[in-house]
Amino acid sequence: MAPPPDHRRPIKRAAISDQQRRREVALRLQADRRSDAQNRARQLASSVLSLGPEPATEPEVEPEQEMSEASGQLAGRSDLDPVRAARLRGPEVRKWFARQLLLPEWMVDVPPSLDRDWYVFPRPSGKRCFVVSSNGTTISRLRNGSILHRFPSNLPNGARTKDVSGPASSYSILDCIFHEPDETYYVIDMVCWRGYSLYDCTAEFRFFWLNSKLSETGASDPPSQYHRYRFNVVQIYECNLAGLQASYSGQVPYVKDGLLFFNKHAHYQAGNTPLALVWKDNVCSQYVLDTDSKGQIPSQQQVVLELQNDGNLTTSDDPPVALGSLSRDLIAQSGLRVGNLVRVAIKDERMRLVDGKLDLGELQLVGKTNHSRAFADTYSKVLFQHAARHAPLRIEDLVASIQSNSSMDNSQALDVEMEG
C-alpha cells in the first residue's frame, strides 16, 4: 500500500513525539536563561554604577571587621561585581540592601527654585523599607537590611500564581513605608520594575512609571489570600503653594510624619542625598524632636555617632564628618569598639556653627545604641534637630521662599517680554 501524500498526516498516527518537544523545551529554557542572565547583568550593573564613583583614596586592604561593620558608610561597594551580586545569599543580601536605600537629608535651608524643580508629599508615618518581589514571593526589608515581612502579593512575580508575564526571576523593587495602623505599604518610589532598573531615571519619570505600572498589577487591591498587604501610592504634588498647602494641611488616609521633597531631575541615588529632603514641624508630625532609647524627649539634644579607630565620632555621611571625639580611657572604660554606634548628649549652649561647620563642643556619652540600628545620624539631621530646638525652619519660611521664587520668575518673564 502506498504511503499517504507528502503533506498529509494520517489522523490516527500516534500523536506523541516527545523528543522534538524535549529539544524545543531545552532550547527555550536556554534562551530564557540567557536572557535572564543578561537582564540580571543589566539591572544590577546599572544599580551598582549609580552608587557613584568609588572612593579613590580608600586603602587597598582594609581590616575585615571594619568592612563588615561599615555602618552607614557606603564604602566597600566596589567589591560588588554586578553579576555576582545577583547571587548573594543570606547576610550578604542584607548588607547589600542596607546600602541601596535613598536617604533624604534633613532640610536645614530651603533649596532655590523649590516650586519649579521639586515635588512634595506628606510622608506616611512608619517603617521605611525596600520591597522586593521575585520568584513568586515578596519580601520587605528594613533600612538595616533585615526582613520585615515575607508574603505573597499582586506585585509582578510576587506570588506563586500562574498568570505572570516574563521570567519568574525578574524582580521588582519598591521603596515603601509600612504604615502599621492600616497595615498598608505606601509606595514612595520605584527602583526596579519587572527586571528593569529605574535607578538612572529621573524622579519625574519614576513617579510617572510608579503611578501607571502599580495600578496595572492589582497591588492596590484589598488584601486577599495571595495578596497579604495592600500597596498604595501617595499623592505627589508639584511644590507650588497649592501643592505645599495640600501636603501640609490636607487630609490623608495615613498618619503624617513630616513632608518629603524630591528634586524632579534627580536619579535614584543610594545613600544620603541632598536631592531629596525631609522637613517636619509639630503640625505635620508627632515626632519632630528625637526621642531617646526610652521614647522620651531628652532635655539635651542627643546624637548617634560612629566610633572610629582614632577615637573620633563621625556621622554617616559620605565622607563621614567628625563631630567630636572620645578619649582612649573612656573608650576602654565603656567597652566600646571601633565601629560601634554611640549615643551622646550635647550641652546646648556649647553647640555653635563656626565658619559654616558644626562644633558640638563637649560631648557626654549616654551609651551604646541597640543592635537593630544600622546607621549613625547624618550631619543634616544633627543640624535640623538643633535648629528645631532653637530656631526652627517654619512652614512660613517655605511659603515665603516659593512666593519670592514666583515673583522673581514673573519679573524675569516680564523682562523678556519687554525686550521683545
Partner: protein
Amino acid sequence: MAMEITQVLLAAQSPDGQVRTAAESNLKQFQEQNLPHFLLSLSAELVNEQKPPESRRLAGILLKNSLDAKDSFRKEQLTKQWVTVDPAIKSQIKEALLTTLASQVSDARSTASQVIAKVASIEIPRKEWQDLIGKLLANMTTKETPASLKQATLQSLGYVCEEVSPSDLEQDQVNAILTAVVQGMNQAEHGFEVRLAAIRALYNALDFAQTNFENEMERNYIMKVVCETAVSKEPEIRQAAFECLVSVASIYYGVLEPYMQTLFNLTANSIRGDEEQVALQAIEFWSTVCDEEIAIQEECAGADEGNSVLHFRFVEKALHVLVPVLLETLLKQEEDQDQDDGMWNLSMAGGTCLGLVARTVGDAVVPLVMPFVQANITKSDWRSHEAATFAFGSILEGPSVEKLAPMVHNGLDFLLSAMKDPSSHVRDTTAWTLSRIFEILHSPSGTIIDQSNLPKIMTVLLESIRDVPNVAEKVCGAIYFLAQGYEDAGSASSVLTPYLGNIITALLSTADRADASSNRLWSSAYETLNEVVRCSNIPENANMIGQLLHEILKRLGQTMELEIVSTDDKERQSNLQALLCGVIQVIIQTLNGSEESLPVILQSADQMMVMFLRVFACHSSTVHEEAMLAIGALAYTTGQEFAKYMPEFYKYLERGLQNFEEYQVCSISVGVVGDICRAMDDKVLPYCDGIMSVLLKDLSNALLHRSVKPPIFSCFGDIALAIGEQFEKYLPFVIPMLQGAAELSTQIECTDEDTEEYVNQLRRGIFEAYSGILQGFKNAKADLMLPHAGHLLQFTEAVFKDKNRDEGVTKAAVAMLGDLADALGPNLKLLFKDCTFHAEFLGECFQSDDDQLRETATWTQGMIRRVLVS
C-alpha cells in the same frame, strides 16, 4: 573527443566486487582528471543506440549525479563545475541528450529527460539554453514524430517545469508548453503512454499557469480537459488527473467556484466506486479544499471583516452530501491496518478527511455524523463498531466543547467498556479515541474528567496497557494526554497523585515488553513517562520521582551490558539510551523547579554524570544528543559544582562541538556550552581556549549546517558574560566573524520564509554576542568595544529598516543598544546624537503588545538618555 567507456561502465556493474571496485576507481579518476571529457563521454554513451542498455543507463545516472546532489553545498559545487565547462562541449552534450529522447530504448529516453531537466535547472535561470523549450515543442508539432519521442518530450517538459522556477520562463514559453501538454492529453489522437506523460507534465506545469488560470477562457479549457481526463478508461491516467485537481485546489482555490458542482460529482463517484489509488486522490481533493479553508479562516480570525481573502465555504456547502460519502469509506477497513503506523487506505484517508472537515465547519458536522455513530457503534461486526468509533474520534477537533462535552460524557462509559471488545481493531480505535478526547477536551477546569469517573478511567487504562502492542501504544497516548491536561495546573495535578505509583510501574513494565515488533511501544512508554513526570505535583511526589530516577539510572547502566553484535543491536542500544537520558533530563527539569525537591537531584548528580560519561564512552564516533541535553539540564541545576565534572566531560563536549556532520548534535553541544557558562561563571575559563577554537573552526567550515551558526554567536555572548574581561584575547577573532556575519545577513536575498527566518536568527545571535561581550567588558575593558560602536549602530539601523525583522531580533537589537550605551557611556554621545534612528526604533517598541519588549525599550531609553545628557 569523447572516449570509449562502455567496458568500464559495464564493469562498474559487475557482480565481481574486485572488477567493480577497479572500474569505479577508473571512472572516478577520469572524472577528476578531465571533467568535461568525462561528461562528454557519458553523453556519447547515452545517445549511442549500438551500446548495451546497461552501460547507457549508468552513463545517464552518472551524468545526473554530476549535475545535482541532495546536499546543498555539493549541489552548489556541481553547478559551478558545469558552468565552467567549455561551451562547445556543453553544447555537444546537450545535443546528445536531446537526440536520446528519440531512442528506441525507453530507459535511455527516460534517463535523458531527467538529465535535460538538471541541465535546464542550472542554465535557464542564467538565461542560457534558451532554445530548449522551442526544440522540445518542435518534437510535439511535427506530424511524423513517433509516440515514443512525444512521450519522452512531454516527460522532459514536466521535469523541466519541476526543476526551474516560474519566474525563469517567459509567458509565451509557458503558453506553448501548456498547449503542447493539453494537446497531448487528447484521447482521440494519442495512445496511453503519451497521454499519461502529458497529464503528469501538466501536474508539474500548473505552477507556471498563473496567467492562464486568470484568463477565464483558458482556465475553462484547461479545467475541461482535466475533468475529461479524470474519467479516462485507464486508472493510471485517472489517478494523475485527480492529482492535478488536488494541485489546482491548492494553487487556484480562488477560481474554483464555477467548477465545483462538476468536481463534486467527479470526486464523489470516484470515492464511491473507483479503484483505490484513484479514490484516494479524490478524497485528497477534499482534504486539500479543507486545508485551504482552514488557512483562510485562520487568516481571517486575526483580520477585520470584509478583507479581500476569498472564502467560498465549499466544504460547508457540500457538507450534507460529502459527509455521507466519507462515512462510507470508514467501513472499508483492511484486516491488518493497525499494524503499521503509516498505513494509508480508504478508511484512513476518509477518517483523515472527516477530521479536516470537522476542523473546517465545526459544530455543523456533528448532527451529520452522530446518526452514523449511533447506528453502528452497537453492532456486533467489528467493521461497523470500529467505523462508528473512528467517525466519533475524527470529529473531536473543531466543534465546540459545549457541543461535544455532553456526548463525550454520555459515551465515555461505553468507550471504556469497548476496551474489552473481542476485536483488536475496535480496541485500537477506541483507545485512540480516548486519547483524542483527553488531548482535545480535557483540562483541569473542564468537566470531562472528574473524581467520579477518574478511578474507572485509570483502572481501564492500566489494564489495557497490557493489551497487544498496537493497542498498548494507543493507551500510552491516552495516559500521555490525560497527564497533559494537568500540566501547569498547580495543585489540581494532585488529582493524579494517588495513581502515580501505578502509572509509573505500568509504563516501566510496558517499556520492558518483549512482544513489541518495533521499538515504538518502548518509546511511547518512556515518552509518556516524561509527560507523567512533567505533570506530577512537586514537591508532593518528589520522593517518588526520585525513586524513578534511580530505576532509570539502573536501566541506563544495563544498556551498557547489552550484547552488541550487529549494527541493529548498536542502534537499539543507542535508541534505548536516548529514551532513558530523555527521562532523566525531564526529571531534572521537573525537580529543579522547587527548593524542596532540588536535593533529590543534587544527591544523584555524581551518579548521573558517571552514567552520561559511560553513555558517551560507548559510542566511539559521536556523542549522544540526549545525554548532552540532560547534561545541560544538570549543569544548570548544580551550578558551580559542575566544575568537578568538567575535566572528564570536556573531551566529549569538544567532540560534540566538532561534529558538524550531525549538525543537531553540534547545535545541542553549543547550547550546553551556554548552560555550562551560566553554571560555572569564570570557572569555565580553563576550557575556553579549547571551546573557542572549536567554535571558530566550526564557523569557518563551509560544510557546517547554517542553522548552527546563530547559536554559536549567541554562545560567544554566554562565554563573554561568564569570563568578563578575560574574553579580550578572543576579540580579534570574534569581531571579524560577527562583522562578516552581519554583512552577510544584509546581503542574503530573502526569497522564502526559511531564509527570512534564518536571517533573523543570525542577527539575533549576533546581537546576543555583542550584548554578552559589552556586559562582560563593562567594568574594565569597555573601551575595547569603542572602535566597533559605529559599525554596530549602522548594523542596528540596517536591521531596524528591514521589514522582515521579527520580534526576537527586535528585542535583541534594542537590548544591545542599551548595553552599548551602558558600557561605553559618554564616549558615544556624538554617535548617538548623529544617528537618530534609535528614537524611532524605541518608539516602535513602545507600541508593542509585548511587556518585556516595552520594558527593555524603556531601559534602553534610560541608558541612551544618560549618554545624551552626559
